[in-house]
Symmetry: C2
Subunit: 121 residues, 2 copies
């Protein structure tokens, strides 16, 4: 589990990011190339946490990073998830119960991934 | 930040708990006194993670634990949250952007809370 995304409608995302930053004591971080994301640095140790602006109702999603996106996507579909769409290199799935998750290539530093990744047969 | 709750409609909660347990490699834990919760042990180190059955659409919420529930609730309302309801000793708020959070008394072991809590003036 790589990240927790607090998906928020665009019109309210800036206010939401300011709120969560102050609520959790986590400074915001932004990157010009990806203006839809506002990172909440250190909100949860070991878990990237960010507010993402979306064209949808408020929700959240979880990012799972993997060194084999097709295999992990197939594993999760085998567990009952359904595929919703793709975005860049990410596969977006809906879990049983209705929540979204994204499967994405490794984003963490290699040594962090090597130390923390779970392996599947 | 104490917990991440994956709130799921009752009819799908068991299937959701089985999915997330397998997806994240986190064994489930239940407690007879609180059948609405299925813990996902170790899903995120340092963060309690659980599927909660709810009479609502799929959503999530975050639990913030505090040694002063009224003061923390007032602080969050001052930051822009609105109060939704109360449940037992918990105050349930809606954040700017529409997401839910709960303010609850300290649940962690005292030494964990002392080491990790953020303090506010």
């Amino acid at each position: 589990m790589y990240a927790l995304l607090i998906d928020t409608p665009w019109a309210e995302a800036e206010q939401a990011a300011q709120f969560w930053s102050a609520a959790l004591g986590a400074p915001t971080r932004t990157h010009p190339a990806e203006p839809q994301f506002v990172g909440l640095h250190g909100a949860v140790p070991g878990l990237v946490t960010a507010v993402q602006s979306v064209d949808d109702t408020p929700r959240f999603h979880i990012d799972i990073e993997t060194d084999d996106v097709p295999a992990e996507t197939s594993r999760l579909i085998g567990l009952g998830a359904t595929e919703v769409t793709q975005w860049q290199e990410c596969r977006i799935l809906r879990a049983p119960g209705g929540h979204l998750l994204c499967v994405l290539p490794v984003e963490s530093p290699a040594e962090v991934f090597a130390a923390e990744a779970r392996t599947w047969p």
